[in-house]
Subunit: 400 residues, 2 copies
């Protein structure tokens, strides 16, 4: 009589702000596990780590292949997400559930906080001598994870922002004035910088781009806008929700009434039009310009349906597939990362695994070479970096 | 020796808030005139009627065909637009310029104000015994013109709003809470109603839709939201920027600080996040819900690049072509209108000409049969009406 070892199960969860392609990575994992003989059933944790401690799982091995293909192109986190940031005690509870369900593989799709959660759980497993492979699959529209060339989710959000500005600039050219567009990205200007990607010449907006990596005073921004209006008779401004003043304090802290903070102590910036309205009011009152409008792009940037970047979709899927390949290739843990193997027409990536410590908690800002010396725009080097990630942008033309 | 009569010239202008397909109509006119022997040169008036009185024209017969094709898919008004609303004296100035340039045809692409301008100019020509064919080509994302089944520009804006809600609802399902989405449409709820078009079942948002055609008090809206949260644990609300209280007063009038009014005496509603922020603050404070976010979709609804409805694009082009056909078919004036010849899979339209008086100034609200008896949603009849106009919407799926 032989004793048949039950194959270890895998758990997968999604965490943090969703993206348009976070489900591509999920489906990448599901498909790769279906083709893998080392893993038993795949449990999807509903609402991230919270679903693990509540043992709120769905069996993903039973989802029809056709449904999976549609899930892959659906924005948002199909398993549900969470803003919980587990401490060590929380992670111990997670680990207990893993032991109970004979979990040998943990895939966590998220940003740098999720990488930190993965890191702590991995430590607990090591201390207990429990064999657990922990793989973090990166996602964030903020593009601010370390090590990797770029993050799944960024290309689609960048495409949305670029196309929004392309159209909005033509709208502003039709009825000239000042237009303020507020773009997501609390600490890093990657997404705001993408506003430039559809520009054809210097007459096109956005004429000014303000990222959190550079301080700007109200006086300076007003002077910049006034100068552009003097030159072109109008001005389109792309500004990060995390724009900071000359002291390095976020502008938002001065006038965002709600002091709602998330589990990480950050004041809520998105989901309010306050920053845009503030800048628009400044421009009206101080520059005496009548037609001033602001739009805050908000959650559409990370969730708009049917418009994801093809490149981003394929790469997010690949990241999920690679996570399974790494997890079943030996006693490894880490975060899936991309290395760029070519640029422009020869653009390509290859995947590698970096340690969870390299990604956990830390963020990556726009490097100096991507920001114009003026501090109010981005460089051609940034455009070369970002353009391959959005896929093809629509063509537009001007009559004059 | 024979005297060769110079063929009468044509003037074309674009007016009011641009759309994603207003240039399709422009190119439709340009192409049709290129193939027509009755019209001389085609002058494009820069910035609408203002370009006419300033004689600020560009010769559209010289634009390369390749450029025209790209102009057609470019959002915004390629000729520039205007908010000027000409009175009789202004129209007399326009008429003088027409006489000076031997203009025999005037095409004006715009909404009901543009139709009124066209109507006055037409009257002046009649009074002077001057032969002028005046054709109004409809455009508005608001879809609120009389007579026509629907307006070029609406289908693309409706597609944008539908896809925004599809994605935003999945985002809200990922991180449950209350989400308020504020949608353009001062007086009519057509665009706000389009928020429903991607819904698959009653669990999907938007769970509540508020249009200006129905009064709603703050108390009532809060009660509605509370009930949905009780049922589904979250709530997505689509609300028109023109939402009115129990007295019929726009909510916006209470708290929009700027009292900027346009030439028509309307208070500026778009280009500010104030309404959404107001509702979100109400929900937080009165219902005690923590995660409440608002987004105001703003100008992206009428200008987003690369995402126009195929149906809308083709119909806007057709409207321009038909305008030339009508103008050169006899002594007629009027506004191009659509009649629906079939619905669902058999959807189709045919064009006809209606009088300028029928369209000028007037607006068309959502009819009662498109609004649910509850006053906080729309009906299947509306969905049957609107779905053919957006073209195919993306497919999405849920895991639970």
């Amino acid at each position: 009589m032989t004793h048949v070892m039950r194959k270890p199960a895998a758990v997968i969860g999604q965490s943090g702000g969703p993206t348009c392609v976070i489900n591509q990575s999920l489906v990448g994992v599901v498909e790769a596990i279906a083709n893998n003989t080392e893993v038993g059933k795949l449990l999807g944790a509903r609402y991230g780590v919270r679903g693990i401690i509540e043992e709120n799982f769905i069996d993903l091995t039973e989802v029809p292949a056709q449904t999976l293909q549609t899930i892959a192109v659906t924005p948002g986190a199909a398993l549900g997400s969470t803003r919980d940031k587990p401490n060590r005690a929380y992670c111990e509870d997670i680990f207990k559930v893993f032991e109970k369900h004979n979990v040998g593989f943990f895939f966590y799709i998220g940003g740098n906080d999720s990488a930190d959660t993965a890191r702590i759980i991995n430590e607990l497993a090591d201390e207990a001598g429990y064999e657990l492979r922990v793989i973090h699959v990166p996602k964030t529209i903020d593009n601010d994870l370390r090590v990797t060339d770029h993050c799944p989710g960024y290309g689609s959000a960048a495409k949305f922002v670029a196309c929004a500005l392309m159209g909005d600039d033509r709208d502003c050219a039709s009825l000239p004035g000042v237009k303020i567009d507020v773009i997501m990205g609390r600490n890093a200007g990657w997404l705001t910088a993408a506003a430039t990607l559809g520009r054809q010449d210097e007459r096109d907006g956005p004429h000014l781009i303000y990222v959190p990596e550079r301080k700007v005073s109200e006086e300076r921004m007003l002077a910049d806008i006034g100068a552009v209006v003097g030159q072109f008779g109008r001005c389109v401004v792309a500004v990060s929700e995390g724009v900071v003043d000359e002291e390095g304090t976020p502008w938002a802290y001065k006038f965002v009434k709600t002091q709602e903070r998330d589990a990480h102590g950050n004041i809520q910036l998105s989901g309010t039009g306050a920053i845009g309205d503030h800048i628009a009011a400044l421009v009206k009152s101080r520059l005496g310009i009548t037609r001033v409008r602001s739009d805050t792009f908000g959650y559409l940037q990370r969730s708009f349906a049917g418009f994801a970047s093809d490149v981003d979709q394929a790469e997010a899927r690949l990241a999920g597939q690679k996570a399974v390949e790494y997890a079943t290739s030996g006693d490894v843990d880490g975060s899936v990362a991309f290395k760029r193997t070519g640029n422009g027409a020869g653009y390509g990536i290859e995947c590698f695994l970096t340690s969870l410590e390299n990604v956990a908690q830390l963020t990556k800002n726009l490097p100096d070479e991507f920001i114009a010396d003026s501090g109010n725009n981005v460089t051609d080097a940034f455009r070369q970096y970002a353009l391959p990630l959005t896929g093809k942008l629509p063509k537009i033309a001007k009559l004059f």
